[in-house]
Amino acid sequence: MIDFLITPLKYEFIVHAIAAGILIGILCGIIGVYIVLRGMSYIGHGLSHAAFGGAVIGYISSVNLYIAAGIWGLLSALLINLITRGKKIKADAAIGIVTTASFALGVALISRIRRFTKNLEAVLFGNILGVTTEDLVIIGAVTLIVIIVFFFLYKQMLFVAFDPESATVYGIRVNWIDTIFSVILAASIIVSLQVLGVTLIAAAIIIPASTARLLTNNFHKMFFLSIIISVFTSVAGIYVSFYLNAASGATIVLLGALIFTIVLIQNYIHRRIMEHEHVHVHSHGGIVHHHKHIDKEEHRHEHKEKA
C-alpha cells in the first residue's frame, strides 16, 4: 500500500501533478459549495467550454494560454449579457449558444492541425503530464486568492446564496458578491483546465459539494466536507490516472461519482431505517393513531382521522 503511494513520487511530473491536484481539490471544493447552493452548475460548464476556445486561439497565436482563455471568457460573458438584454433569449440559452460555439471553434481549429490531436485529448479530458512549475505557481496563486476571498466574504457569500433578496436589505452588496464570485470562478476554471479537462471540470466542481450536501444540513460542515472530499478525489484520481494510464479528469470525476453514489445509497438506507423505527402510536384527545417520522429531526405531523 505504502509502495503504491510512494513509487509514483519518484517521478517529478507526478509530484507536480499531485501538488496541482491538492490545490485544485481545495479550489473546486470551495467553489463547488457556492455553485451548487446557488444552482449555477451550468455556468461552470459553460465557462470551461468558452475558455477552451480562447485557450486554443492562445495556443495557435502563441499568446499565454491563461491570458488568452481569460480574455476569451470575459468576451463570452459580455456577449451573453448582450444577447439576454433583448429579453427574448433567456440566460441559459444564451450561455448554451455562446459557450458551445466557442468550444466548437476551439475544436475546429485544433483538429485542423494534425500534431495537436494528442493535445486535444489532453485538454478535453485532463492530463497529469506536463504540469510545469510555472503552472503550479499560477494554480497556487489562484488558490490562495480564492481562500482569502472566501475567508473575508464567507458571511456575505452564505447570506447571498441562501436569501439574496433579504441580503440586500441587510446591507450586503449582492451585485459585488456576484461579480467577485464570477471572477474567481473563471480564474479557477482556467487554472484547473489542464488537470481536469474542459469537458469534465464542471462535474469535478459539483460532485464533492453535492456529496457534502447529502452528508449534512449544516453549511459550515458542508463547506469543510466539500473541500476534504474534493482534495481526496483529486489526489486519489491522479494516482489512479497514473496506474491505469487514463485521463486524469475522467478518473477524478469517476472517483467522485463513486463516493457520491455510496453516500446516496447510505442516505437512502438510513432514511428507510429511520422511517421504520420512528413509526409510533400515541393518542391525544382520545383518538389513537400512528404515524411515521420521515426525518430524524422531524417532529411535525398531520393528524388524520382514521377511517
Partner: protein
Amino acid sequence: MQEQTMIEIKDLSCKYGNNEIFKGINLKIEKGIFAGIVGPNGSGKTTLIKSMLGVIKPTNGKVSVNGGLVKNRPSSNIGYIPQLEAIEWDFPVTVEQAVMMGRYNKMGIFPWPDKKDKRIVRDVLERLSIIQYINHHIKTLSGGEQQRVFLARALASEPELLILDEPTSGVDLKTQHDILHFLLSLNKKGITIILITHDLNAVAAHLPWIICFNKGIIAEGRPEDVFKPNILKKTYNADVTVLRSGSLILMANAKPLNTDD
C-alpha cells in the same frame, strides 16, 4: 421635521418587464408608527416593499429611509421578514446560522461570530421561544416556528425599522395572536413597523394606521376611517360587510358566492 419621517416615497413606479404594477406612488411613514398594508393577492404589496428596500429597481421615483436615499440598498438598520414562500427550505442552514445572518453587517471581518453576536442570537431565540431548535435544520421546524426564525433574524440586526411580509399567514390563531402582540410590544419600545397582512380583523383591532393598497394607495388612515364598505370595495373589488360595535370593527365577506359565475 425630516427626523420625524422614517420612510418617504416620491413618485415611485414599478414594472416587471412590460407589466406595470403601480405608478406614481407617494407615501410617508412616520417614525414610531405601526402601519398595516392590506390589499388583494397580486396587488403589488410585496413589490412595493421590495422597491422601497432596493431589492428590485423601481422604474421611476425615489425612496428615502431614515433620511438616507435608497439606491442599491438601504443604509439604515432594517429588519426584513420576507414572505416565507420565497425561502429555500432545503438550504443547509441551522436555525442559529440563519438568525446569525441578521448580525453579519455588524460582525467584524472574520467569518466567525464573537461572544456578543452569539449572545444576542441566543437571547432573541429565547425571547421567541425557539431556543430549543438552535441547532436544527430550518426545514424541520413547523410553519409558526419557521416564521419566528425569520423574525429572530430581523431582531438580531437590532433594527429601527421592521418590515414584515405576511408573517401571520399559515400560522394558527394563537401564534398569530402571539406574533401580533410581540410586534406591538416592540413598537412600544420605539421600533417602526410595517406589516403586510390579509388579516383585516386583527389589524383593525390593534394597529393605529392602515394603508389600503391595490396597484396604488386606495386610502390610508386610522382603522375606523379606512375600514368602510366603499373603501374596501375599491381595494378588494368585492363587497365587504363591516360590523361595528364600540371600538370593535369586524369585516366579513358579505354575499354568498355566486354559483352562477
